[in-house]
């Protein structure tokens, strides 16, 4: 065989053609007794059905967490979790926090310095001093 093919695996580019939302599960924990869960209990009865209907791609889990502050836990496709404590928050504020978790990619927060990140080679290519018009001194 004069030419061989090298075995490799293609790399995913989410959002390039198809898009998969990275947040796969949101867990809402509440307490019936404690006052810090007041907003959460209102959120669960008023806002959550609408929120769940608008985001069918996320699995919603509601479970009690007695004698503890209420939390929202986001579980992501990359295997990471993000947890937000929503004690004493208004139900509207809790909705904002749920949206924050929904829109997150699950990655650790990091500073992005370059405006574009690409796996493709540069169209212009790398500068070569051996090509083009020779520099005259």
């Amino acid at each position: 065989m004069s030419v061989q093919g090298l075995r490799t695996i293609s790399k995913a580019r989410n959002g390039f053609a198809g898009f998969i939302l990275q947040c796969k599960r949101l867990e809402f924990n509440y307490c019936d007794w404690a006052g810090s869960s007041g907003g959460m209990n209102a959120f669960l009865t008023h806002d959550l059905p609408k929120f769940a209907k608008a985001n069918p791609q996320i699995e919603m889990v509601v479970s009690p967490r007695p004698h503890k502050h209420p939390i929202i836990r986001g579980v992501y496709i990359n295997g990471r979790e993000k947890v937000i404590c929503v004690r004493n928050l208004h139900h509207q504020q809790i909705l904002e926090q749920a949206n924050l978790l929904k829109n997150s990619s699950g990655l650790k927060l990091k500073k992005i310095n370059k405006p574009v990140a690409s796996v493709n080679e540069s169209v212009r290519g790398i500068f070569s001093p051996f090509h083009g018009v020779k520099h005259e001194v």
Binding site: S2, L6, T8, A12, I20, E59, I77
Partner: protein, 342 residues
Amino acid sequence: MLEAASAIQLGIKGTGSSKQPRLPPCRSPHTSAKLSSLHARLSLSPTFPLETLARCLIDPTAEPNPKFNNATLSNLGNNLLGYYTTEHLLAKYPRLPIDVLYAAMHAYISPQTLFQAGREWGVEDAFEPTLEVDAGLLQFKRLKPGEPWGPERFFKTGDESALEPPAPATDDPTSKSTLDSEAEKKEVEGIPLSHATANFVKSVFAGIYLHESPSSAHHFFRQHIISRHLDISKLFNFEQPTRHLSRLCAREGFQPPIARLLSETGRRSRTPVFIVGAYSGEERLGEGYGASLDEARIRAAVSALKGWYLYSPTEKKEAEEEEEEGGREFSSVFVDVGEVIV
């Protein structure tokens, strides 16, 4: 449907009591939150039923009845994926050598790639395929640690067969059946997670093909498989590039290739750089750099060969796209004579 499946599974297992145990609501495809969220995450059409998606998640190792597992679906999905990928690659790069074509197909639709795709879809797996498992989890029997998988499953190594005593030759008609039953006993029960996930991904393609339309399956393929990043120019491994190029030029009736030094620096230094072009007559076929003249010449030949084999017609038409447009007459794609035999 799946409830029927679970009932049958129950019958096979034989729990002893005629009364069915109460299953959790997540067992039914219509009340499983995981399953419906997976359905929505993949943007599947409402014509793709949840029952089929649940069936796609059941591996033959978890449920042997082919009516309720994904064996048939994954077989169809495998054929679809193979067909779509070959068509895409051959329409895009008609001159791709066969081994590189196989490598590109491996990169797009090998079980390892499909396993990655399944992970990126957020498919979770059940630890053990029991009755009360959520319908939205991948159900399969795990391979035991140390169990062989792949070619070792079917072929014994020389040492093992040498150690085993030779089977006594008897005319007993039952001996064959006893051997068969022994072989059945030795058959591995279980499948690696990667292969089970890959079978699920294949079955989803088959489900879209059957419940939606062939064009939706093709669209889904473009969205999730062809959109993956693969640099085909990095898949080539030429054994004798300069000889290969001269054979190619001879076949195509070009003038024999000549390497010409285009530019150089530091010939007598520790770090020289040479730029060499591979020329056929007046035409430059390729160009390469290197720290020695030979290295640069070989790189130039490789670049010329890649320029030939990675030719891509400007107008690419796949049969599926033409079908979608409707009324347009079928025009076949450019088919090359093939690679040079060196």
